[in-house]
């Protein structure tokens, strides 16, 4: 089965992350699982790339971070849980509009529907 790799997702990763967080707060690995699940196993992200995207979103105030202290069954550094902010929700709505426009346009050009 053909997969969609990271290069094709460039420019969309931030909207994808916001979309994953719309389902509720999550840490990095959980965000990735949600994306893979939503992509029916066809998305092949370079997993390290998720974090720069999260840091950019955090710096822009679109997500905020809550630290989860190590508890029972988990040791090591505090885990960071990412949560969508109001600004992030607005950005997601805008991202969806942009995406719909992009799909319509590309469909007309590449899909030969025009």
């Amino acid at each position: 089965m053909k997969t969609i790799d990271g290069d094709k997702l460039r420019g969309h990763l931030e909207t994808m992350v916001l979309s994953a967080l719309e389902r509720g707060e999550a840490h990095g690995l959980e965000i990735l699982r949600r994306l893979e699940h939503a992509g029916c196993g066809l998305l092949r992200l370079k997993e390290g790339s998720l974090y720069p995207a999260l840091y950019r979103l955090e710096a822009a105030g679109k997500v905020k971070v809550v630290k989860e202290q190590p508890g029972e069954g988990r040791r090591g550094a505090p885990r960071r849980i990412y949560r969508l902010t109001t600004k992030g929700r607005r950005e997601l709505a805008k991202g969806r509009e942009d995406w719909a426009l992009f799909v319509r346009t590309m469909d007309a050009v590449v899909g030969g529907l025009a």
Binding site: G6, L29, E47, S49, R56, A77, P78
Partner: protein, 248 residues
Amino acid sequence: MNDSTERELMVIVERAVRPVRASVSRKRRMREELLEHLAAVFESEMEQNTDIQAGMERARRRFGDPAKLTEELQQAVPWWDRANYICDIARLEPGDSLIHFFARLAVMVMTIFFAVMLALWLVVLPAWIAEGKFGRETLFVATGIWIVGMFFVVFPFIFISVAKRTGRALYGEPGQRSKWLAVRWILAAMLVFLPLFFWTFAIFINTSGWGVAAFWFTCFLSLTFSLILLYFSRQSSDAQWANLELEN
């Protein structure tokens, strides 16, 4: 997961994070978060496979190219992160001693104080020149600024700079490590501290009897500062990560 496996995972993370130009706290966060993720990826790979090296290789592939990740991480560092250096100084980290913390805090507060004093002085100076007001008052302010500046800006600046370089020479990357280089940095620090201490105390005490005794006193002070510097150089290096050897 055993220590050697964790170390291998740390090396993968460190290859991406070490070249990033960012504050200590930001890089620490990157390291912690990426390591946790990579460890989880490795464990999930090991659930399907019993060969550690094959699991490690797959985890590495899923993680991505470190050079590319460095680039992406660097782009995610905001321009104001350099100001976070101040927050790093003022933050009480786990394992920090209170003396260490308050010393950093004092340096930061006095640096800000000195900057404000200097700015004020530069604002009033032109007016004082115009009024021909260059008497005892000006001299008093200038002496005050010199002393405050020396103790809380110049000394700490030299101290932190040399401590970092000594730390790198002692605990940095294997190729950069050199005990002789560390010794040379300590000697250089002593040679810089000595005249600075001497002149500063000479201005402060302002007596003719301040000769040989001052010399020995400042020798003692510069030696003490250099030894404290050695201690700080170890404290300031993130030894666990800094000691990782990144060669293939």
